[in-house]
């Protein structure tokens, strides 16, 4: 009897410690990455990194101004494609969808989410790069935009579903049409969740390298307009990290840090805007 109890106590302690250790490991992985990035990244961060073009091969110094702007342009384009599609499809699923078609859309969205990013890259390559016969910002933006859609759809749908039914009925009872109800009551109420979801997808595609390799390609110079190859931080990191030069390795770390910081700033900024919007001042 007492042996049995001791055994049970032992199992309890072992299992509790195991879950604790795993939880700790999960957290520490993130902190190790962050620590590395801060340690190596900050050492090679300087003003020139933000303001200057990459130095010619063999020359020290230079920066990644073009890649920072390039990532910004690619993400802007991706948002222009991903957010409207994701948002409206999510609204459809949550508010208007019938059974069979909604199931189909949901299932397809999940599949799309599972498509490897490099395959999405090939798609953009086939659709835009081959017909236009050159790499471009447009192709890169399309690849990233397509990648944004699935998560944007699902988080929008879930945020909308979390809005209590009584709010919808309140608006309907005042004579609002279905769309008016969704647009003026349900969506504002769900805005925080929707924006969080969109920020998550944006952060995810901001770090994507594979789909950009043969769509946006990369560029050591400025890329005016939307129709030429363009540099981006992830591709720069890839390129620089694989290079033979110590100076480039340092800059790759710096690029990683900047990429992370940009994602973080966008995220915090968007949340601030949203939380101000929900302070119930205006519809």
């Amino acid at each position: 009897m007492s042996l049995r109890i001791r055994w049970r106590k032992l199992v309890n302690v072992v299992m509790l410690s195991l879950t604790g250790v795993c939880a700790l490991l999960t957290v520490s992985v993130l902190f190790v990455i962050l620590g590395y990035l801060l340690w190596y990244g900050s050492k090679s961060l300087d003003w020139a990194f933000f303001t200057r073009l990459p130095a010619p091969v063999g020359e020290a110094g230079g920066g990644m101004a073009n890649a920072i702007v390039g990532s910004g342009k690619l993400l802007l384009l991706a948002s222009l494609i991903g957010i409207p599609f994701g948002l409206l499809a999510g609204v459809y699923l949550a508010e208007f969808g019938g059974k069979t078609f909604s199931f189909l859309v949901r299932y397809t969205t999940d599949l799309l989410n599972g498509v490897p990013s490099i395959v999405t890259g090939i798609f953009a390559y086939t659709v835009i790069v081959i017909p236009m016969k050159h790499f471009s910002t447009l192709a890169g933006g399309l690849a990233l935009g397509v990648m944004m859609i699935p998560i944007a759809v699902r988080t929008t749908e879930e945020s909308l579903r979390a809005v209590p039914r009584v709010l919808r009925e309140g608006a309907l009872a005042l004579g609002a049409s279905k769309w008016k109800t969704v647009a003026t009551v349900v969506m504002p109420a769900a805005m925080r969740g929707i924006v969080t979801g969109i920020m998550l997808t944006l952060a995810r595609v901001a770090g994507e390298t594979a789909p950009l390799l043969f769509t946006a390609l990369g560029n050591r110079f400025w890329s005016p307009g939307w129709n030429q190859p363009i540099a981006s931080l992830p591709v720069m990191i890839y390129e620089y990290a694989l290079s033979a030069y110590d100076d480039w390795h340092r800059q790759a770390w710096a690029a990683g840090l900047v990429l992370l910081a940009l994602v973080l700033i966008t995220n915090v900024g968007a949340r601030l805007v949203v939380s101000r919007g929900i302070s119930f001042r205006r519809a």
Partner: protein, 272 residues
Amino acid sequence: MRTNTSEDARPAERAGGTASPWPADVKMRATSVDFYYGGRQALHTINLQVPTGRITALIGPSGCGKTTFLRILNRMYETVPQARPEGEVLLDGEDIFSLDVVNLRRRVGMVFQKPNPFPKSIFDNIAYGLRINGMGSKSTLAEAVEKSLRRAALWEEVKDSLHKSAYALSGGQQQRLCIARALAVGPEVLLLDEPCSALDPIATAKIEELLFNLKDLCTMVIVTHNMQQAARAADFTGFFLMGRLIEFNKTEIIFKTPAKKETEDYITGRFG
């Protein structure tokens, strides 16, 4: 004040009904209404007249169909898939099922069981109905909002915080806000679905007093679990049981000398 005289004079021909003119003292009339949720029948041949300018209470045990019936009157059942009514419901002689639903809901407002203010300011909550219905310009909006809040006896409490969140109000205040919001679009009928079930007795008393004062303004139908509330507030009372309207009469008759045994059993607390 909004008057309903022109509405009352509306002829019955449009509903294809009887040749006799629509009686002014009847606001809504349900004739042999059945209701189905998919294959399950929730209401059986309900015949009921809602008297104009009075408070009509619907009482009965949970699941008896009183809320279902209420939600037919402004076609709110349409939010439930596969819900289907049969029979005829007239509003001033007009068939509500052939009216435009947006128009119907503007004329027949609704207040819900749980206060459901929108996540907006107090002002915007009241203005919402006016804005979506294109009623009132910017200049008249403030005036209309004040009028509605006064009617709902909330103005004095919120006049200094109109642009604060509606969620900052107490439960009772929120419910009065919802009443004000419904009143703002000038409904002829106000449906109330257990409006006090989430409120304490003091807030409940305020709402009952408010309803009493609103009788000149609109006809009211209130679903309630609370029999004292029906006895206190309503002019007419209908007793529902298992999807049927057992008895409908003046409130004092229902409570003092009910005709049916089931009604008596229910109001004396023998079941339900």
